[in-house]
């Protein structure tokens, strides 16, 4: 599987972010933990996104490595998969075994240093670094890029809950970061190289390998250690996740401030400030303080009363003011259904026979009991009536009441003619 991914992705160097992301997910799939998290874990959600970050940074490091290595990009990129192949194996090991002794001494120091920092600070650092990384990428590449990237790497687990922010930032600066994204396939290829065999060039390979391992170790350590910080950060980030705000304006620039508002969009200082002031006025301002919002159950009582003429008039006004025209045939059918002009769906051929449905079927069919009184027990009249009852029991078009009326008509009739019948000696009691 990885070979396939590897091949397909190495060929189109400049694939898009989306491809990159999905590939990262795919690459992660062999690690059971991540498979679970990526697909359904809310709890472990943060971890998956942190892995995304890691990959990204990892890839940036590589970019840097490539640049350092000069123009021999192709050769270098060939190497990296192999480098990461070994590394990936190692990483997987670490994740399953949780702790390994791979933490280099300098990294341990950094971890301590990091732990000293407050969660929020590190967050700011991280995002500052990331931003710099994208916008001033070229410049920094030649400068102290490596240092800053390492710090980014260390803080990634904390950045995890900020996934939305990051994705937004990616969108906003998509163009700027396209350069880094051109290397996505390489990264994925590297991750998948565990299964492939490629020649290694020792120097660059071992360097990258070591860095990756260190990062993995630190990631694990911080995942264990900084859960409290993580909680704080998540709590802070809730403000920033307001969907209205997020979609409201294209993010030109992102600012992180310390007073808990998350990020704000710049639209020029003045408009921003006035906007903030008005927002507070409108949404959180004072109220009249006349009513007390306590009694909630009392308000229901008038609804029970019969609607007055005023209510009917008001409802009529409402329906007149809105546009009630159907837009398509189905909506027209809905209108007809509400008016009662249409068969109701799902189709039921007993619709409208609610009254009749209450009558059990045997009332329709076993009508002999109605012959018990008022008719002779035997003889031609009885015979005739039995035929009538048989006919009625097969007639689906009459109600039971009608059938009874029909029978009682004959009862009256034969009573009236009783004399005649007796004379003819056909009416037997």
């Amino acid at each position: 599987m990885y070979r396939i991914i590897f091949r397909t992705l190495v060929a189109p160097r400049s694939s898009s972010v989306n491809v990159y992301d999905s590939c990262v997910l795919a690459a992660k799939c062999d690690k059971t933990v991540f498979r679970v998290t990526n697909e359904c874990g809310v709890k472990t959600f943060s971890t998956s996104s942190s892995s995304l970050c890691e990959k990204k940074n990892n890839q940036d490091q590589k970019t840097q490595a490539v640049k350092e290595g000069g123009q021999a990009e192709v050769v270098e990129l060939r190497e990296e998969p192999a480098v990461l192949k070994a590394d990936d194996g190692g990483a997987a090991e670490q994740q399953t075994a949780v702790k390994t002794e791979q933490v280099a001494s300098n990294q341990a120091a950094k971890t301590k240093n990091d732990a000293a920092k407050s969660g929020k600070e590190s967050l700011l650092d991280l995002l500052g670094a990331m931003k710099v990384e994208v916008t001033n990428k070229r410049k920094l590449k030649n400068l102290k890029a490596k240092q800053s990237y390492e710090s980014v790497t260390q803080y990634t687990p904390k950045a995890a809950p900020m996934e939305s922010t990051i994705s937004m930032y990616q969108k906003a600066t998509g163009e700027a970061s396209s350069q880094s994204e051109t290397l996505d396939p390489d990264l994925v290829a590297a991750a998948s190289a565990a299964a492939s065999t490629l020649p290694n060039r020792s120097q660059a390979e071992s360097e990258l390998l070591r860095q990756l391992r260190q990062r993995e170790a630190i990631t694990e350590a911080q995942k264990k250690g900084d859960i409290n910080n993580l909680g704080v950060i998540i709590a802070d980030m809730k403000v920033g996740k307001n969907p209205n705000r997020q979609n409201a304006w294209p993010a030109d620039q992102i600012r992180f401030d310390d007073d808990g508002r998350g990020y704000t969009h710049y639209r020029g200082i003045t408009s921003e400030l006035s906007g903030v002031r008005k927002r507070r006025n409108l949404l959180l301002g004072k109220r009249l303080n006349i009513f007390t919002p306590t009694a909630d159950e009392d308000g229901i009582e008038p609804a029970a009363a019969k609607p007055t003429l005023w209510d009917i008039d008001f409802a009529n006004q409402l329906s007149l003011s809105t546009n009630q025209m159907p837009r398509n045939g189905f909506e027209e059918m809905i209108q007809w259904t509400e008016e009662g002009k249409l068969w109701q769906y799902p189709i039921n051929n007993e619709a409208g026979l609610e009254e009749e449905a209450k009558v059990p079927f045997h009332e329709h069919i076993f009508l002999e009991k109605h012959l018990e009184e008022g008719f002779p027990r035997e003889g031609p009249v009885r015979h005739f009536m039995e035929l009538v009852v048989t006919g009625l029991s097969r007639n689906p078009y009459l109600t039971v009441q009608q059938k009874k009326e029909h029978i009682s008509w004959f009862r009256d009739y034969f009573h009236q003619k009783e004399e005649v019948l007796k004379e003819a000696d056909v009416y037997l009691e």
């Binding site: 679970v36 008005k278 409108l282 004072k286 009249l288 007055t308 008039d313 003011s321 837009r327 409208g352």
Partner: protein, 686 residues
């Protein structure tokens, strides 16, 4: 590996068969997103049993559910006319007047049929439908009970016969019968609602011939609209007050009916004195009384702060009398605040927050009033769209139902705030809100799109209101697009909303022409002309002149010129069809120029004749152009005729044309003679 468990969970979820043999595993797997159904089942299921099948509960559907699901799959076809006209392709409305005419005639046809059925119930006794369909059968509209009784009174009230009900009540009183309190309440309601006048009813027995029912109804509707404002005022000592005074005991309902009626029909001061009277009788008011009084408050006080004080006092009294306010209470507060000048802005926001604090969700009308308060005057320093932004951000993605008749005003007024210019046609509507200075900001465009997307959510489009409101809304939206958006996007929207939702007025088309001009896509003009013709704006000389002017302004590539010439000929045929319309000289010369550019000399010559028949004078530049074309055609005879024509128009520049013709053309002696005569005749003497 937990993955198989998850997959099973998925399939179980989908099939609704909850085989719980893997339950332990699933429970252990915390990342799994439980569906509520599964959780419910799991709670009651015995976890030990491995082979239990749980049958899901039967689900009952409402009778519209199937149709609603189907309707949600149909998206709007923007190439089609509105659905109500699809029965008859001949009656597809192409202009807004046709739209109005057709929809009104459809409605009036329905009402006429209903009228006849209701008034001749004897002719419609057969009930074919099985099961019975009540709405197809005639309704009782005439009185049946003739004797003097409370039943008869009730019947008169339900049929809304105001005068008959009052008569019956009087007769009952004279007979010494006491009428129950409930009936008295509804009688007072009836009289107050219609201000002691018989309402105009669809089913009212007519003295006129029934054949004219539809026409009559239309006329009546017009009368009714006017009378709503003018005639239906509250009269001193009308029957409602008389009956009210005759009542042995009066409760809150009686006061409520009277106060509401008085406010509805403009007797505001009287309503307040009635309220004081009620308080003196130690009664407490109901929420309707307060709503009515609050909406009347601006009419009984002159100063802004006095108005607000009155409203606040009423609200305080509400609280003291333990009356819970409702949405309409606050909407009437906000509506009254629109007339409270400088106090409005702060108090409106406080009111909105009070609503939220009480857990009453504001309706679109509340926001409409807030917008009106904040965007009332252009003079105010705050001329930006922040409040609107806040409001839209709050409303985004929500589905609304109509809770207040003013709800339907929200969208068009929100669009007014973002649209840069007010259309002249609508200036009457917007006369009370003075136009805000044109502020070209891309924010406005974004807001416009947001408002539009809010309209698209759910059934919100119904809250655009009637077709008039809707055309205002789309007119403003289209105007905004034309001003701010790239022409391709404008044309995309143009195709989407015209003519299926909106028939643009001449101003809208002019905006579109300007947008085309700005982005130099003048080659699209011929197709726009076709639309103008379809929309029935080809009889607007100004618009046509502007179109022709844009086409004739510059030279274009030959193909474009060719299409322009065809378009110009089309315009000319419209000229011929409508001889009554006065076409300007500019339009005529634009057409001629266009024809000349496409080398249609013959038609251009005909156009020149048209100048004469229309009493218009061609310009010198046009004739010069014509002469150049004659030259390039090598047609000296035409040139001579042209100069003669110019002489016939008594143009002062005829001699110059003649001179030019003499110099440039290869003429016969005869022609030369004619021209030189014209030249010397026209030449200035000095």
């Amino acid at each position: 590996m937990a993955a198989p468990g998850r997959h099973i969970g998925h399939s179980m979820q989908r099939n609704g068969r909850f085989l719980l043999y893997n339950l332990e595993q699933l429970l252990g797997h915390r990342g799994f997103g439980w569906t509520s159904a599964l959780r419910q089942q799991a709670a009651e299921a015995n976890k030990e049993s491995t082979e239990s099948v749980i049958i899901p509960r039967k689900k009952t559907w409402s009778k519209e559910a199937v149709l609603e699901a189907l309707a949600s799959t149909v998206s709007r076809d923007h190439t089609a006319y509105p659905y109500q006209f699809q029965d008859d392709p001949y009656l597809s409305p192409r202009t807004s007047t046709e739209f109005k005419l057709f929809s009104l005639s459809q409605e009036s046809g329905r009402s006429a049929a209903k009228f006849i059925i209701n008034n001749n119930p004897k002719l419609f006794t057969k009930d074919f439908a099985e099961p019975h369909i009540p709405c197809l059968m005639p309704e009782t509209v005439s009185l049946r009970l003739e004797e003097v009784s409370e039943e008869a009174l009730k019947e008169r009230i339900t049929l809304r016969k105001v005068t008959a009900a009052v008569d019956m009540y009087d007769q009952l009183l004279q007979a010494g019968t006491t009428v129950s309190m409930e009936t008295t309440h509804s009688l007072l309601d009836l009289i107050c609602l219609y201000s002691d006048r018989d309402p105009v009813q669809d089913g009212e027995p007519q003295t006129d011939d029934a054949e004219f029912g539809a026409e009559l109804k239309k006329r009546k509707a017009r009368v009714r609209r006017a009378s709503d404002f003018l005639k239906f005022t509250w009269k001193e000592n009308n029957n409602a007050e008389r009956i009210f005074n005759l009542l042995p005991e009066r409760d809150t309902r009686c006061y409520s009916a009277l106060i509401r009626g008085m406010v509805k029909h403009g007797a505001y001061a009287k309503a307040f004195s009635m309220y004081t009277d009620m308080l003196n009788n130690r009664l407490t008011a109901d929420v309707h009384i307060f709503n009515a009084l609050i909406s009347a408050a601006p009419d009984v006080r002159d100063k802004f702060n006095e108005r607000w004080d009155l409203i606040a006092e009423l609200l305080n009294q509400m609280n003291q009398q333990k009356v819970r306010p409702n949405l309409l209470t606050f909407n009437s507060v906000l509506k009254s605040l629109r007339r409270c000048g400088f106090l409005a802005k702060t108090q409106a926001l406080h009111t909105l927050n009070e609503m939220k604090a009480l857990g009453i969700a504001p309706s679109l009308a509340s926001y409409d009033h807030i917008l009106a308060v904040f965007y009332k005057s252009a003079a105010s320093a705050q001329n930006n769209t922040d409040i609107l932004q806040e409001v839209i951000a709050e409303l985004e993605g929500r589905i609304f139902t109509c809770q207040d008749p003013d709800d339907v005003l929200f969208f068009s007024s929100a669009m007014r705030i973002v649209s840069p210019a007010l259309e002249p046609r609508l200036s009457l509507m917007a006369a009370f809100d003075s136009p805000r200075s044109v502020c070209l900001d891309s924010k406005d465009l974004e807001l416009g799109y947001k408002i539009q997307s809010l309209v698209d959510v759910g059934e919100n489009w119904r809250l655009l209101g009637d077709s008039f409101q809707q055309s205002i809304y789309y007119g403003r939206f289209f105007n905004l697009l034309c001003m701010m958006e790239h022409i391709d996007v404008v044309l995309k929207w143009y195709k989407q909303i015209i003519p299926s939702l909106y028939y643009p007025n001449p101003q809208g088309m002019r905006d579109l022409l300007q947008a085309l001009d700005t982005d130099s896509r003048l080659d699209l003009l011929p197709s726009i002309w076709k639309d103008i013709k379809t929309l029935g704006h080809d009889n607007k000389p100004d618009l046509v002149e502007e179109l022709l002017g844009l086409m004739a302004r510059e030279k274009h590539s030959p193909e474009v010129q060719e299409s322009f010439a065809a378009c110009a000929l089309d315009v000319k045929s419209v000229f011929d069809l409508r001889p009554s319309i006065e076409w300007s000289a500019a339009s005529l010369s634009h057409i001629t120029t266009l024809l000349l550019r496409a080398n249609k000399t013959r038609q251009a010559w005909e156009m020149l004749q048209l100048f004469k028949s229309r009493n218009r004078v061609p310009s010198e530049g046009l004739l010069n152009n014509f002469l150049s074309v004659c030259h390039s055609d090598g047609d000296p005879q035409k040139a001579v005729e042209l100069v003669q024509l110019s002489a016939a128009f008594c143009l002062p520049t005829t001699w110059r044309l003649a001179k030019r013709a003499l110099a440039e053309f290869d003429l016969t002696e005869e022609q030369r003679a004619i021209l030189s005569e014209l030249e010397t005749a026209g030449e200035p003497s000095d």
